[in-house]
């Protein structure tokens, strides 16, 4: 069989795995990184270490190689007619070429696991091997580093040097392993025979599909967003088999990129999306923006946002947010204005007006003239806008002033504003950003995000062309579920004679496809992304395919070959190498190509330095600006993309289903979020099931009164609502709000409208309890849990030190040791994204327990992010607080355990001996932070508490072999990732030099895009964690008010918090609660 997906080239394994990314103050960080660099791959030798798996096993076990030959000899190739390359020859060719290409790609007999008779050069049992690759969960193209153990991925981490991910990863990226090892991934491709789907061999697939493809020229491909060579390949394929290049259609539910690109096309004539460097922006204005929730690149934006917005060295930026729903972005804003649904464009226009009327506003004369023309054209709308939006003109004037004071940015739209005006809104955003001079300061067009080819407008093109297609190949896309049913994509697909669906995980398209083909997971695939113009991020397999799946591109190649129109590549890797030859040339590298390519794979990315051509404002903005009045009043349904489940693509991962929504804290369900006032008016309470009747249909879901929503907003997140039977995890969970949507399209791009449609609510009388991980919303007037300080105060006390450890008590002094592990968490930074929770669960084999168990309060998260609302229910202040085991030095849990199962480690850790635990649960009762978790049952990996699930054939599980798997009856909790501490301690011992601060990173800290978590040795006075513990903002949770000589419960945790810094005066006294 073809071995197209051997694991690629690992990072040098002896390189420090948890190496520190360039620090925030490092001048090499930031924009400079985008420039072409003398990368490490320019240096030879080290880059060329041999591959990771069973290298040279044939040489040492000749009988294996021999057996392969015998098998091949016993099965002479069949005559297959006039193929230019016979399939078996093809395979031989491939084998030969891959042998020649790199030592890492020798064909290896891997059908059976063979213990090491002689250990391969770079495989050490128990020693991880790291691969650099590119995350494929969304089109952002974050670099990831995959930790593999004995050939199996166990954890994903951000690639430290990668300029987009900056060593960080979001919750979805962290969940990749559950996609890879999902038990429901099909074991074989299937072909439909009448009503029956039958498992077949790949040969049969190629033969059958090839014959279909050979017969027609009306062949199309529908796929999701991607930025690398993938789309180019698809086009080449279409062209080769006789179709045309433009029958490649892309659709991505996150149409933000599409509308931004369309607006820039209209305004500047370039189909591009500028890169927003939030770390450069002192003032950020978000209008319906969700750059911290979904946006265009959550990790990049969260990192940049916290760089400029969180309190640092006496300063912090400001963030104003206008939105009709409550997003995490809005929750972090300093000032938040609640606007009616659909008023984002109007609000932006009003801001543009305030800006253009300000004498200090920037922008070329031509641009200003254009902008003025737009305002004049919409004079009426604008004039009545203040009343409509509910914002005073003075406020906007003031805001305009502030925007012009410093480097600033206006971020418009997120998935809550995908309505008819989505692209108009982006045009308005361009005007605002022109006027504040954001381009080339905070917004970079030349080195902007790469836009998938074909956009904008692909969806409409697809809908128009689809009825005429004979063959449609759907690759990693799910138009049936992610588009409103009003678009009738299902009927459209049903009418196409041949539909082939190649999916990494089966979805609704497979249910009606004639060919349901199981594609590779991205961790098994070759590929690349070009997230930013001229910046290439490579994707390589990190594991041999877990099932008999194939990479989509390779399937197409075989199909083309079977249709007697071969593409002339050995496999997709071969194609990539040919394409990368061009990149090699552009970089001007002196190395030969193979060395260059290996180097790139090892490093994970390369920057060619190329950029997009940019012109100034051209065309007529006024003519392009086609503002659609969406009406006003009444209740409006808004269906934003869920930050965890996206458009439903990730709904099959229990780890994400169980990650609570950051604001409602709901897991495993859909909900109808309403303003509490609206709820009271309608007589609705939390959990009451309402029927939401929209123009396109209706659905029923439970109500959640969410403070901070506009009274007209009915917010139902997308992501759930897969039909019952569509999988054990996602099937039957929640509702898809899109069913209520009528068919509507963006006025300029034709992207689907998923928000702002008028709906009616009616109570059904039923009650559905929502599985929330936090049931109480306010802080209940408690003053020593979450602390806040004002900017003035924080600045005044900047140099003052605090001593949290001197607490009068009767305990003996803490023992002296080499280390005392501690953690500091900055509340000013935490955005509540939940990446830490997923990272922690993956690293520590934390079980997911399912809807019923969460309802009963039995979630197992070792780290949770508490969310507290304060102030008015119409516009609350929101605080996020990561809460984990505080590793108290005077731990209440340790004293009460009868069997010493929980005990104090000499290095300050509150350790847990699972074998010793008998499950009295006394420790959990004694814990004031209630972060201990009990195994009420034996939770198997993503078993969800049902026996039925566990009976299914399970693939190898992504358990971290370094961490004990707990059984029922045992208490567990955060260990400060002790396995990582121990690893580094071993290294320190071997190399015989002291521990370097930052060398040990816990899983939560490692992935945190906001860099809110610091871990280290508290006995090292220069360690960052020690500095932060002595910071004037530092406090201990439940540690009372030390300045008033009140020391709370005196548990003396090793986890300290840094108080949030607000722009308001006298922040500390603001503790009004509400339920």
């Amino acid at each position: 069989m073809s071995i197209t997906n051997e694991p690629g080239t690992p990072q040098s394994m002896h390189e420090d795995a948890y190496a520190e990314a360039p620090s925030a103050d490092d001048p090499s960080r930031g924009r400079e990184v985008w420039a072409p660099t003398e990368g490490p791959f320019e240096k030879p030798a080290k880059a060329l270490e041999v591959g990771p798996l069973y290298v040279g096993v044939e040489e040492r076990l000749p009988e294996l190689a021999e057996r392969e030959e015998t098998v091949a000899a016993a099965n002479p190739p069949k005559k297959r007619g006039k193929l230019s390359v016979d399939r078996r020859d093809f395979m031989k060719l491939f084998s030969a070429s891959s042998l020649a290409a790199t030592a890492a790609c020798i064909e290896r007999p891997l059908e059976k696991a063979i213990p090491f008779v002689q250990q391969p050069v770079d495989q050490w049992p128990g020693e991880p091997v790291f691969y650099a690759t590119t995350c494929g969960e969304c089109a952002t193209g974050c670099g990831v580093m995959v930790r593999t153990r004995e050939g199996r991925p166990t954890k994903l981490e951000g690639l430290p040097e990668h300029p987009i991910s900056k060593g960080k990863l979001c919750a979805v990226g962290q969940s990749s392993l559950q996609g890879l090892f999902h038990p429901e991934r099909p074991r074989a491709p299937k072909i439909r025979f009448g009503q029956r789907m039958e498992a077949v061999t790949w040969d049969e697939v190629y033969e059958h599909l090839g014959s279909k493809v050979a017969k027609t020229q009306k062949i199309g491909i529908l796929t999701g967003g991607a930025t690398g060579n993938r789309h180019g390949f698809f086009r080449e394929f279409l062209e080769r088999i006789g179709s045309t290049r433009d029958r490649l259609y892309t659709y991505d539910s996150n149409t933000l990129m599409e509308s931004v690109a369309a607006a820039h096309k209209l305004a500047y004539g370039v189909n591009a999306m500028p890169r927003a460097d939030l770390d450069q922006a002192k003032v950020i204005v978000g209008i319906g923006a969700d750059f911290l929730d979904v946006g265009s690149s959550v990790v990049y934006h969260t990192h940049g946002y916290t760089q400029s917005h969180a309190f640092k060295a006496g300063n912090r930026g400001k963030h104003y947010q206008f939105e009709s729903i409550l997003t995490r972005t809005g929750a972090k804003a300093d000032e938040r204005f609640v606007i009616p649904p659909g008023a984002e464009t109007l609000t932006t226009l009003l801001l543009v007006r305030a800006l253009i009327e300000n004498k200090r506003s920037k922008g070329s004369a031509a641009a200003r003239q254009q902008i003025q023309a737009v305002l004049d054209q919409k004079a009426e709308v604008v004039a009545s806008g203040y009343e409509r939006v509910g914002i005073k003109r003075e406020d906007l004037d003031k805001l305009a002033n502030e925007l012009l004071d410093e480097a600033s940015i206006v971020m418009c739209a997120g998935s809550s504003a995908f309505d008819e005006n989505a692209t108009n809104l982006q045009l308005a955003a361009i005007m605002a950003n022109e006027l504040i001079g954001a381009y080339d300061v905070t917004l970079h067009l030349a080195k902007g995000w790469a836009v998938p080819p074909g956009q904008p407008g692909d969806l409409q093109r697809f809908l128009a062309d689809a009825p005429g297609l004979d063959v449609l190949i759907v690759i990693d896309a799910n138009p049936i579920f992610s588009l409103p049913p009003a678009f009738a994509v299902q009927d459209l697909l049903a009418k196409i004679p041949t539909v082939a669906s190649i999916q990494e995980f089966p979805n609704e398209v497979d249910a009606l496809a004639h060919y349901s083909l199981n594609g590779h997971h991205y961790l098994e695939s070759w590929g690349d992304e070009q997230p930013v113009a001229g910046f290439w991020s490579a994707r390589q397999p990190t594991v041999r395919a877990t099932h008999d799946s194939r990479q989509a591109e390779d399937i197409l190649m075989w199909v083309a070959a079977s249709a007697k129109k071969p593409l002339g590549y050995v496999d997709y890797r071969d194609y990539l190498k040919k394409k990368w030859a061009a990149v090699h040339q552009v970089t001007g590298s002196q190395l030969d190509f193979d060395r260059f390519f290996d180097g790139v794979l090892q490093r994970g990315f390369v920057n060619t330095g190329a950029s997009q051509a940019v012109s100034s404002v051209s065309g007529s903005l006024a003519a392009s600006f086609k503002y659609v009045d969406t009406g006003r009043g009444g209740l409006r349904l808004i269906a934003p993309l869920d930050m965890r489940l996206g458009d439903g693509k990730h709904a099959h991962k229990p780890i994400l289903q169980e990650l609570p929504d950051a604001l409602t804290m709901i897991t495993w369900d859909s909900w109808v979020a309403l303003n509490p006032t609206t709820c009271t008016k309608q007589g609705l309470k939390r959990g009451d099931v309402v029927k939401v009747q929209g123009p396109g249909g209706s659905f029923e879901a439970a109500v959640f009164p969410l403070p901070g929503l506009h009274p007209e907003a009915v917010v139902v997140p997308r992501g759930n609502g897969h039909a019952l039977g569509a999988g054990y995890i996602q099937g039957g969970v929640g509702v898809n709000p899109l069913v209520a949507m009528a068919r509507g399209s963006d006025a300029l791009t034709g992207a689907p409208v998923t928000s702002g449609q008028a709906v009616k609510l009616s109570a059904t009388g039923a009650v559905r309890p929502l599985a929330m991980t936090q049931k109480h919303n306010d802080i209940a007037n408690r003053t020593d849990i979450v602390k806040k300080t004002s900017l003035v105060e924080a600045r005044a006390n900047l140099t003052k030190k605090r001593d949290l450890d001197t607490v009068p008590d009767l305990y003996p002094a803490l023992p002296k040791a080499e280390y005392r592990w501690g953690m500091a968490i900055d509340l000013a930074r935490c955005t509540g994204c939940g990446a830490c929770q997923v990272a922690c669960s993956t690293e520590n084999n934390v079980a997911q327990v399912g809807h019923q168990m969460v309802l009963q309060g039995r979630e197992m998260h070792w780290i949770k992010i508490d969310r507290y609302f304060e102030g008015s229910t119409d516009n609350p202040q929101v605080t996020f607080q990561p809460m984990l085991c505080q590793h108290c030095n005077h731990a209440p849990c340790e004293a009460v355990c009868p069997v010493f199962a929980t005990n104090h480690d000499p290095e300050g850790l509150n350790a847990m001996t699972y074998n010793r635990c008998v499950g009295t649960r006394y420790c959990a009762n004694a814990c004031p932070y209630k972060i201990r978790r009990f195994n009420w049952f034996t939770y198997k990996w993503n078993e969800m508490g049902t026996d039925e699930y566990w009976k299914r054939d399970h693939s190898p599980r992504p358990m971290n072999p370094d961490v004990t798997v707990r059984t029922r009856g045992v208490m567990e909790k955060c260990t400060f990732c002790y396995q990582r501490v121990r690893d580094v301690k071993h290294k320190v011992k071997i190399r015989n030099t002291p521990l370097v601060d930052g060398e040990i990173k816990t899983a939560c800290q490692q992935t945190c895009p906001a860099e809110a978590i610091t871990f280290g040795n508290l006995f090292d006075p220069s360690a960052a964690v020690t500095q932060q513990r002595q910071d004037n903002r530092a406090y201990l949770a439940l540690g009372g008010t030390p300045e008033k000589k009140e020391f709370g419960i005196k548990t003396l945790p090793n986890v300290s918090y840094l108080a949030d810094v607000t722009l308001k005066e006298n922040a500390a006294s603001e503790h009004h609660g509400h339920e």
Binding site: Q774, K775, H776, N777, D778, I779, A780, N781, R782, T783, I785, M853, Q856, G857, R858, E859, K864, D866, R867, Y868, Q881, M883, P892, A895, V896, C897, P898, V899, F900, R916, C917, V918, G919, T920, R921, Y922, A924, N925, A926, P928, Y929, K930, I931, R932, R933, F934, N935, W936, F937, T938, R968, G969, V970, M971, A1037, L1038, I1049, T1051
Partner: protein, 454 residues
């Protein structure tokens, strides 16, 4: 009190009158035994299911890691206390009325403590390891139990209590077993003879017996106070608001005696009827028991008040918030049941009429037991549901498993108690004779004098 008692019987009626329980039992006995046994079976079925599937079959959760099982544990330990109080402390105080009910009270103690002892085992997550690792056994790993943990103190306290109570009870039984031996034949005689350790009723034996009994009474007396104090430390030693308070030991002891006295009354009244012991356990003795219930109820009432006062007076916001919620929050029902049953209904006992009406008193005593169960539930659950961090606040209600195992424990307790009633003298033969009048007949008087003082 008992000095003014008007006896209709004399000591010569004692053996014949009391040992009727060894005869063929009444149908009521069989019904009661069958009911108790079915409850035991029910409890075992649910417990077996819990062991097989996991602790998750209860509705325990985070933050309420302790629920009905620990409530049951504290309840049964508490029940036991009245037995020791009655048999040991009142013995030392020479309260004569206790001689009629001390035997059944002691039996109640033993079965209650055995019932209580089941619950830590039912409650732990890994039953198969708990007895081994919670026992302080020397081992090569030098791993000891954590002597700082109140749960270990519990193990010592409860096992000491059970041992001393058992010895005390059995020692009192020895002369009575000898009496039974003397009345029976065949295998029964052999068994009772073996159990009575060859008691002959000689003066020397009586001398040793009295000394030993007094000594054991003195030994058991501190246990009345210590055991429930130690149990209260399970709660008081943690930082949990609502638990972390110094009033707990005396408060728990008073509550234990209250529930124990009420349980003695609840047990003695039907047994007295079932085995026709009205001539021996007189209304006046029962009234004394009620008076003790009234006394402890007022102490408990005071403790409740002081607990609230201190929560407010301490200025601890967490403590006060919890107490506020106890009385008004989602668990207010349990709080008010507890207050009414333990503090207010017993106030009716101030009326002599109520006190002397056995049915009314019996119902109030049942209510007191219900109230005491709710008190423990209230202390455990309402303190855990809403503690320090509002983010962790939760909810708990008992699952069918909890409830059926609780019923099972009642069945278990009554089952053993009924077995006791069938095979042992329910009233202490030797001790009741001390407080009863001598027979009328001078001949018998003479004969009795010959045999020494009974």
């Amino acid at each position: 009190m008992s000095d003014e008692v008007k006896w209709e019987t004399t000591i010569s009626d004692v053996n014949d009158g009391i040992l009727v329980n060894l005869e063929k039992p009444s149908p009521a006995y069989w019904v009661a035994l069958a009911a108790a046994f079915s409850l035991v079976v029910l409890g075992i079925v649910f417990w077996a299911r819990q062991v097989t599937i996991g602790m998750g079959v209860t509705y325990l959760n985070s933050p309420v890691y302790w629920g009905v099982y620990i409530t049951d544990f504290v309840f049964w330990v508490g029940i036991g206390h009245a037995g020791t109080l009655i048999s040991a402390i009142l013995f030392l105080f020479r309260a004569k009325w206790r001689n009629t009910i001390n035997r059944s009270a002691e039996a109640m103690t033993i079965f209650a403590v055995i019932s209580a002892g089941l619950f830590p085992l039912i409650h732990v997550g890994r039953l198969w390891l708990a007895p081994y690792w919670m026992a302080p056994l020397p081992n090569t790993n030098n791993l000891w139990v954590n002597f700082r943990s109140p749960l270990i103190w519990d193990i010592f306290a409860i096992s000491t209590y059970l041992t001393v109570s058992l010895l005390f009870w059995y020692m009192g039984l020895v002369p009575d077993l000898a009496s039974i031996r003397d009345r029976t034949r065949g295998i029964k005689r052999l068994v009772y003879g073996f159990m009575s350790f060859g008691w002959r009723g000689t003066a020397k034996q009586w001398w040793h017996y009295e000394a030993g009994y007094g000594f054991l009474a003195a030994l058991a007396t501190p246990l009345v106070l210590s055991v429930h104090s130690v149990v209260s430390w399970d709660f008081a030693m943690s930082l949990q608001p609502g638990w972390h308070t110094t009033i707990f030991p005396p408060y728990f002891v008073a509550g234990a005696i209250l529930s124990g006295c009420a349980m003695v009354y609840n047990l003695v009244v039907p047994i007295r009827w079932m085995f026709k012991l009205e001539k021996f356990i007189l209304a006046e003795h029962l009234e004394s028991c009620i008076k003790l219930t009234l006394l402890t109820s007022t102490i408990v009432f005071y403790a409740y008040g002081i607990e609230f006062f201190v929560a407010w007076y301490s200025g601890n916001p967490y403590e006060w918030a919890l107490f506020e919620k106890r009385a008004t929050g989602p668990y207010a029902f349990y709080f008010w049941v507890m207050t009414f049953c333990n503090c207010l209904f017993p106030l009716l006992f101030w009326s002599k009429r109520v006190r002397n009406s056995i049915p009314i008193s019996w119902v109030i005593c049942v209510l007191v037991n219900v109230g005491m169960w709710f008190e423990r539930y209230n202390i455990i659950v309402s303190s855990l549901v809403e503690d320090f961090l509002p983010s962790s606040w939760g909810h708990y209600e008992p699952s069918p498993t909890d409830i059926f195992i609780t019923w099972g424990s009642f069945g278990w307790f009554f089952f053993w108690f009924l077995i006791f009633c069938k095979f042992f003298p329910i009233v202490s033969l030797s001790e009741i004779k001390l407080i009863m009048p001598k027979p009328w007949s001078p001949k018998k008087l003479k004969g009795a004098a010959k045999h020494g003082a009974h």
